[in-house]
């Protein structure tokens, strides 16, 4: 039990190491192409612009509004989705490193989540471009997105622990999660609004990812997240932390033998 908790403590405190690893992951993407991770951003920008145009043309929504809504929402969604999809592969992908150095393995989780935050930073440019395009400013409330980002990042860390353990033991967790995330993208109000579905708002309310997205998206669109958004998001963090701690304490010894 102690060795698992020590692993997490030492891993978290060794921020220098996971900082170096995460920025190196990013630089590795720059090394191969001039634009590096901005290719993801460009793909993201085309997707947002294309969808905004489509929804204004087909769904007859005001273009400016649709553009901003999707730019903010999809940027946050991409962050959460990449965390869910990448988590199961964390230990297999970093096995070479894990089996070479006497460093805490929790380091790899912090490294990957930090990398996802840095990618979010790149994609955030699309939202800023949308703001410039629409010519609006959400007001000071936009800064409320920062505590939101902290809570969503904590949520990513908390589920990454148990998903990465599960993914190290069972190699089909990754593909399974990928299929589920594809469905979640449609089920979560990213392309549509909660208000659009009339009486079926429970579909959004029951979805924890909706609340996490709102924590960042609402301020970016000039609104405060609701108390329900906060409560639901903090519950996600708490529940995932408990599950992850139990899983990590029970399985820490076994993880390197599965790689």
């Amino acid at each position: 039990m102690n060795e698992a908790l020590n692993d997490i403590r030492e891993g978290a405190l060794n921020w220098r190491a996971w900082g170096v690893l995460a920025t190196d992951d990013l630089q590795a993407r720059y090394r191969r192409t001039v634009l590096g991770p901005f290719w993801v951003t460009i793909a993201h920008a085309f997707f947002v612009a294309g969808y905004a145009y489509w929804s204004s043309a087909v769904l007859k929504q005001p273009l400016a509004e649709a553009f901003l809504y999707v730019a903010a929402g999809l940027t946050v969604w991409a962050f959460i989705a990449s965390s869910l999809c990448e988590a199961p592969g964390i230990f297999p992908r970093t096995a070479g490193f894990i089996t070479s150095y006497d460093l805490p393995i929790s380091l790899q989780i912090f490294r990957v989540v930090l990398g996802q935050v840095l990618t979010l930073g790149h994609n955030f440019v699309v939202y800023l471009a949308a703001l410039a395009f629409v010519g609006t400013w959400p007001g000071m409330v936009a800064f409320m997105a920062i505590p939101g980002l902290i809570v969503v990042s904590l949520a990513c860390v908390s589920w990454s622990f148990f998903l990465s353990i599960l993914g190290a033991r069972y190699r089909d967790v990754g593909p399974l999660l990928n299929s589920v995330v594809g469905m979640l993208m449609i089920m979560t109000p990213v392309f549509w609004r909660k208000a659009d579905i009339g009486s079926a708002t429970w579909l959004a309310e029951a979805n924890p990812i909706y609340h996490l997205i709102e924590l960042i998206r609402a301020p970016l669109l000039g609104n405060m997240p609701t108390a329900v958004n906060w409560a639901a998001s903090l519950t996600v963090v708490a529940v995932c932390t408990v599950i992850s701690l139990v899983a990590f304490v029970r399985q820490r010894r076994n993880i390197t033998y599965w790689l």
Binding site: V20, A28, F97, T99, L166, R171, D172
Partner: protein, 277 residues
């Protein structure tokens, strides 16, 4: 700080997954849903007892050679000592920083050059830029790779790769050095230089454990030999004596020692009680 490396009846057994269903969460879920009636997920998983209760007590100046046939547990023992694998039973206690040469370039980035890799590892371990540039210079001189030092590791031969890993492990600050057989990939010239380097490290009173198939290396670098077979200690003691037993044994492996508690440096404490049957 005095360094030490202690194993107390440490054992390692791990599962080997041979079928995809062993690593399928869907099959595991089916097992749960059927209340364990259908356990296709665990059927046929083999468990390897790689290390069966080994006790070691190494302190400063210990230079230990591990010998034994392929698959006898040398590499697993090194990984256990390195803290990469945690013991499934028993305990490991360590004082001091560990550096390892366990595989050619595991833990290094094949896309980065030798220089970039060294700089990167220095940054991960939080060394100052002055320390890092000293280490990079020292390694560049030692590996004698010329222009290859600035080329990606994927262009290196196994011997060149092991030069980098060996130089890194012996140059980074650390009190405990663990080296697997990979060292053998180096050429004769490199082996001579590696020997000098290990002698120097030994003079600094550090702990070294080296797995080897070469009697020359064993006699040259080690003061104590441990003969492993099937994850147990068959014999331990003076390198020349243990090697002679090992070489003479051929296919006939004697039974493992009943209570082998290897303590070094303090050879008197090596108890050799033969297990019967």
């Amino acid at each position: 700080m005095t360094s030490s490396l202690i194993l107390d009846r440490a054992a390692v057994s791990y599962p080997v997954f041979t079928a995809s269903r062993h690593q399928s969460v869907l099959t595991a879920a089916a097992g749960l849903l059927s209340f364990g009636k259908v356990r296709r997920d665990v059927e046929g998983i083999k468990v390897v007892d790689a290390i069966r209760g080994i006790s070691l007590n190494l302190s400063e100046g210990a230079r230990v050679g591990l010998i034994g046939r392929n698959g006898s547990g040398k590499s697993t023992l090194l990984r256990l000592l390195a803290g990469i694998h945690l013991p499934t039973r028993g305990k490991r206690t360590v004082k001091g920083r560990i550096s390892t040469v366990l595989s050619h370039i595991a833990g290094l980035d094949a896309e980065k050059s030798g220089r970039e890799n060294v700089a990167f590892i220095c940054r991960i371990f939080g060394l100052s830029s002055a320390q890092s540039s000293n280490i990079i210079n020292e390694i560049e001189t030692f590996v004698e790779l010329g222009e290859f030092f600035d080329m990606p590791l994927r262009t290196y031969s196994a011997g060149m790769q092991v030069r980098i890993s060996f130089a890194l492990a012996t140059t980074m600050p650390g009190e405990i050095l663990l080296i697997d057989e990979v060292l053998a990939a180096g050429d004769a010239h490199f082996m001579t230089r590696a020997a000098e380097r290990l002698q120097k490290r030994a003079a600094e009173a550090r702990i070294m454990v080296l797995a080897t198939h070469s009697p020359t290396q064993l006699f040259e670098f080690c003061d104590l030999a441990i003969w492993l077979d099937s994850g147990e200690i068959v014999a331990c003691g003076k390198p020349e004596e243990v090697w002679a037993q090992y070489a003479a044994a051929g296919e006939e492996i004697p039974p493992p020692l009943k209570r082998a508690v290897v303590t070094w440096p303090s050879p008197s404490a090596v108890r050799q009680e033969r297990k019967v049957g």
